[in-house]
């Protein structure tokens, strides 16, 4: 692996640029490079691993048992990538992808990169986007108060800085990560005063139909054991139907409802989690078509059997292609790389099929049990479309659920893009990452439409911040200069 630390060290074009150094990106970049392609892996973080393997090569955690063996196995993925001839640019943000038909030697895309305050445009014949997933937004009254964070944030803090919340900590929401984190934090010395489980009771019956597949999946036993262990050691409240964070200027307590009973718990930190959803901003801005997945209740890109999107030359691998977990991400990255290698002539179709076959079989097994988790842990509607009008939905522009419902009802907005023009929701720096899903659900609920009918934000580059100074310093082509000079 060739580590690049300045933009000037990058080539002007690559066969393949892979975005994101999580399990999918590491496997895709390594495999493609091993198959003979000129590959560049870019990632905005200082070290590889994405979020699931965050800081796996440099974690300050001394007591390894605090994190699962699954986490530490990520180091092997990194080591495998480092043995490949791929180039790797850390702390490098990719902020745009544009089709470029003018490149003379067949590069199909022009991508914008930023590193250390400098920007540069380079060419890529093909791309694999492996930007992974993000926490599903969890809008409750008071969720913008200092002291409220996502569960993933606490796990990142534990892995990368070996720190845990001080004071009384409450976890709330649903999904396996919530229980995993509760156990990890408690073992690391955090004071977990309660775990408030919002898993809808009504989901158990339909989920049972998918139970057999779940039971033969590798993580069934682990998951059930974790659940039992956590319930024994911590105060767990099931069937929570409403949540609110309270405090003046910072979190002081959590109020929750369980049936007709309401209770308040004093606390210093509230960690929210209700599953993860694909990070769609880059693929959306690149023009890739997305569909709404009603089972997982999230948007995901439209992909073919080799994970190629609706834009030929752009493939999407890992959780960004659809939530499946770290093991499936690595396999999808490898399969996508085989597809790219064959497309660029590095390997023939027969070899592509031969090498992909065992990967596909393993991928099928890795996804056993997914359906059970998806059916059981799909959030209740009140946590997707908050009923309390004062709940902030767009954190950046401070637009409330009441304002959005009002615009959906009175102004009959056609979708989130028109909503944005009226209310500014989605115009802030996060580019709709924390409000988009909620806005869609609120419009859908108010107007009696489905999320698929309502649609999502139409995103445009830059998908991450880049300064005017960086753009102004970009070298300009003759054609670009001629286009503006008279």
């Amino acid at each position: 692996m060739k580590a690049l630390t300045a933009l000037g060290q990058l080539d002007a074009r690559y066969d393949l640029v892979v975005v994101g150094a999580g399990p999918a990106g590491l496997c895709a970049a390594g495999k493609a490079a091993d198959l003979g392609l000129a590959v560049l892996l870019v990632d905005e973080n200082p070290t590889p691993g994405g979020q699931i393997y965050r800081a796996v090569t440099c974690s300050p955690l001394g007591e390894r048992a605090l994190l699962d063996a699954d986490y530490w196995r990520g180091a092997e993925l990194v080591a495998q990538f480092e043995r490949s001839p791929a180039s790797y640019a850390a702390r490098c943000t990719l902020w745009s992808i544009e089709a470029d038909a003018t490149q003379p030697d067949g590069a199909a895309f022009e991508i914008g990169l930023s590193l250390d305050g400098c920007a540069r445009l380079i060419g890529a014949r093909q791309l694999i986007l492996a930007t992974g997933a993000q926490e599903r937004p969890f809008p409750i009254p008071g969720w913008t108060l200092p002291g409220v964070m996502s569960a993933g944030a606490a796990q990142i803090a534990l892995k990368s800085a070996a720190i845990v919340p001080a004071g009384r900590t409450v976890l709330a929401g649903c999904g396996p990560l919530l229980y995993l984190l509760a156990r990890q934090l408690a073992a690391a010395g955090a004071e977990i005063v309660a775990l408030l489980d919002t898993t809808p009771r009504s989901h158990w019956l339909p989920a049972l139909a998918a139970l057999p597949d779940f039971l033969r999946s590798p993580y069934a036993l682990k998951g059930l054991g974790l659940l039992a262990q956590t319930r024994r050691k911590l105060r767990c409240v099931a069937g929570v139907s409403a949540l609110a964070a309270q405090g003046q200027g910072q979190l002081a307590s959590v109020r929750f409802e369980r049936g007709s009973v309401a209770q308040t718990i004093a606390c210093d930190t509230l960690l929210l989690h209700q599953g993860v959803i694909p990070s769609v901003n880059l693929a959306n801005a690149a023009g890739c078509a997305h569909d709404f997945n009603p089972l997982q209740h999230c948007w995901q890109p439209r992909l073919d059997g080799w994970f190629v999107s609706s834009i030929p030359g752009i493939a999407i691998a890992g959780d960004g292609a659809g939530i499946g977990g770290a093991e499936s991400a690595a396999l999808r990255g490898a399969i996508a790389a085989l597809g790219v290698a064959q497309g660029l002539g590095g390997i023939d179709p027969a070899r592509r099929e031969r090498e992909a076959a065992p990967l596909r079989a393993a991928l099928g097994r890795a996804l056993w049990g997914r359906r059970f988790l998806d059916l059981l842990y799909r959030p209740a509607l009140q946590f997707l479309a908050p009923p309390q009008d004062e709940t902030i939905v767009c954190r950046c522009e401070e637009v409330s659920a009441g304002q959005i419902r009002d615009a959906a009802r009175r102004l009959r907005v056609t979708g989130p893009n028109q909503m944005k023009a009226f209310l500014r929701c989605g115009m802030g720096p996060c580019q709709g990452r924390l409000c988009g899903p909620t806005v869609v659900d609120l419009i859908a609920q108010t107007q009696g439409r489905t999320p698929a009918q309502v649609g999502y934000y139409r995103l445009r580059p830059p998908v991450k911040p880049v300064t005017l100074a960086e753009l102004a310093a970009l070298p300009q082509t003759e054609a670009a200069i001629a286009a503006v000079l008279r």
Binding site: E44, N45, P46, Q51, C58, S59, P60, L61, G62, E63, L66, Q134, E135, T144, L145, P146, G147, V148, M149, S150, G152, A153, I156, A157, S160, A161, A162, I163, V164, P165, A166, G167, A188, G189, G249, Q250, D268, T269, S279, R395, C396, E397, E398, G428, P429, C430, R433, L434, K464, P465
Partner: protein, 104 residues
């Protein structure tokens, strides 16, 4: 508020670094993000929103939420969770919109 684990740390533990927050001298660890260093030092609020002046703090710790925006060495709109702490960093609460720095 976050606290450091009291257990032994690995060889990857970095050196202590001196930095400041709103003029207060603080200590952090090389390898931590600015956001992690602030949280470990008991900093509760890192910015006030441009829309209403509401207090905010880091939420996602992975560069998605943009609630960890702080002023670092006079430059605003820096995502604390995406930047590694450096010795001598001057970190400040961002009050509202970023103030564009005057050219020197």
């Amino acid at each position: 508020m976050f606290k450091t684990l009291s257990r032994p740390r690995s060889d990857a533990v970095g050196a202590r670094l001196a930095f400041s927050f709103d003029g207060r001298p603080l200590s952090g660890r090389a390898g931590d993000s600015v956001a992690a260093a602030l949280l470990t030092n008991g900093v509760v609020v890192c910015r006030e929103t441009p829309v209403s002046g509401a207090p905010r703090a880091p939420y996602c710790m992975m560069g998605v939420c943009f609630d960890c925006l702080v002023v670092i060495d006079g430059v605003g709109n820096r995502q604390g969770c995406m930047l590694p702490l450096r010795a001598g960093m001057r970190v400040e609460t961002q009050h509202g919109r970023r103030q564009i720095e005057e050219p020197r």
